[in-house]
Amino acid sequence: MTFDIFVIPFFGGLLFLLAVLFIRFTAWLATLDKSGRKKLGHGLLNGQIFPATWEVFMESLLHRRMFKQNKLLGFMHMSFAFGWFLLIVLGNLESRIYSGGHVNPPYYPIFLKFFVHDKRTLPFELYTLPGFFRFIMDFVLLFILSGLVLALIKRVRSKWFGMKRTTQHSRFDKWAITSLWLIFPLRLLAESFTAGAYQGGGFLTNTLGTFFAAFLPVEYLYYPAWWAYSTALGVFFVTLPWSRYMHIPTEVLLIYLRHFGIKTGKKPDSFSEIEIYSCPRCGVCIDVCQMNSAGRTSSTPAYFLRSLRYGNPDDEQNANCMLCGRCHEVCPVQIDTLAIRIAARYEDNKLLVPSFKYLDQFDPSDTTADILYFAGCMGHLTPAVKKAMLKILTASGERFSFMDEDGSVCCGRPLLLAGLHEAAAELIRKNTDLITRSGAKTFVTSCPICYKVFNEEYKLPGVEILHHSQYLLRLVESGKIKVNNTGITAVYHDPCELGRGSKIYNEPRWLLDRMVTINKTEQERENSLCCGGSVGDLSMNHTERNVIRDEALKVLLASEPDILVTACPLCKKTFDNGTETVVMDIAEVVSERLQPASKTELSAAVEIAG
């Protein structure tokens, strides 16, 4: 016997799911933009498939990044994903023993114990092949059920899993999660009842079956149990494409495409849609998002992505994000939440067409220099930073020019963050022209916001773009300036755009290490908090920003350092208003500890640097 009518809910659901997935995946791939299609073609040929497959195994099945987050959380996800995967693979192999090695219809391995009652193998007879499979299949089922128990515990004790908040589910998600949670207990019941009725089964199902048979009419119960198991599977498959569990198939596609070099662009496209569908709403991002402190939980990435998926997010969700990147850092799927938010803003703001034609008349007299210093808009609002930089540059003896001494054109990053990249391109063009004309080989800026855009969006061949923390370190290391260590304690705050945004964590620390004693803080480097002043957010008011600032200050100043050092004028300005502790930019620290270099030393150093 290889068919029974109860397999229909499962089989029908499976066929439906496969059809929906086929249509969706085809539509996504067909609407990839030109460069995306090209990358897809290249990627398929140049061997990127192998590392991608490895990542699929490590992430989609083993959930390595989840483990990094929290071991219990990782185990819970792994037991479901990897356990179910093993159940499918091993079930297939097991079913072949009984069908003479043939490929079976898809429902056959799933419901094998209904079709085959192998009484030859007692529970622990591991030395025969069927006995081995019986054991391993029960073991895997137990493995999955342990994950289910953890999932239930997580509902009431999410803190054990490292989560303060868990995601509030939508109605479709509730259907899907209920059917998913029923699948494995129902399988256990169906197999146990059958084992009880026919004296078969492995160590788990046999034991349970014998137990049930003692007081239940298992010979009447097992058939309805198989029906229930099949129905749970069917309901899960049918609800999957509309629930968060769509992430299971989509994430696999995402990993491959990402390995092929495809990224979410400046406008919403089919790849950003794949990223949106890959969000499992696991909720890891919700806790790390500082928007919670401002009472704007609905703008946290999990809910924002959900709104994008099921319709349009409201203006508040679009605008309310500091783009600090903390969510991206912890996301187990590594969804580029920042790019998606900016792309959504592009949609939102595309009616607006700023025009900077007036800049054509701006034609400052040509200055030539080796080093071009750019304070940036925010740098101009913190004159102390600007002054410190000018003092250091003068002391270093470098031939420099202060590009925006008299105020200048904005770098374009604030426009980019609002999704207005066409307008930003105008500013980028203007600044590129100004920099190229100066003939400078090194461009130094005080503002990480500027640094990021100059580094990533500007095309300036032959010009090295540096943040002042990098440049100052270089000056100190080459001996062009000298600093002393006064032994005071300091805490260094990683600005979002410099740290997570540009991956510059070490240079500021190495530089500071020569002047002060750095205290460690609870959340630094990748986990650093946003100061709350971000130009990424468009809508938060000052009161809300101050809440975020104060929470960040509490973490930063826990060790009661003498000074709080940062490398961003905006962070400095934001923090300065919220604490009695002295807040300094790294350039100010250098400027304060600057030692006059003797002339001979200086010329020697210049020669070496050559």
């Binding site: 203006d315 605008a319 703001n349 009616l351 607006l352 067409v353 700023p354 025009s355 900077f356 007036y358 800049l359 008349q361 701006f362 808009c377 925010m378 101009h380 609002l381 008299d406 105020g407 200048s408 054109v409 904005c410 374009g412 604030p414 426009l415 609002a418 207005l420 500013l427 002043g533 130009v535 468009l538 809508s539 938060m540 008011n541 000052h542 009161t543 905006l570 300005k573």
Partner: protein, 117 residues
Amino acid sequence: MSGAVEKVRFGFSVNKDRQIDYDANLKNVSDIVQKAEPTFNLCISCGTCASTCTAGKFTDFSLRKVILMVRRGETKGLENEITKCMLCGKCQLVCPRGVSTRNLILQIHKALKTGAL
């Protein structure tokens, strides 16, 4: 000698009428903006924003003027004016009243495009 009296030009003229006709002006832009960015109401027209403005260095763009015009409903020509903003956010940092100026600009933009009909 001719009898015609020649007008003497002193280089001065009479100002155009500066009376604001609130009945004729569009007030719904202001309503839409207030709803979309409530901090709009906090503005005291001190002009700090205009004095620090990056775009203001190159043009006569002034956020203070823009806000006054929106409040009065004098929206003619405003759309053109507002395209000059680079959205750099200096005004937001210096604003003594905590107006979310960047969003304000975007919302005025949007209200003019979509709501002012």
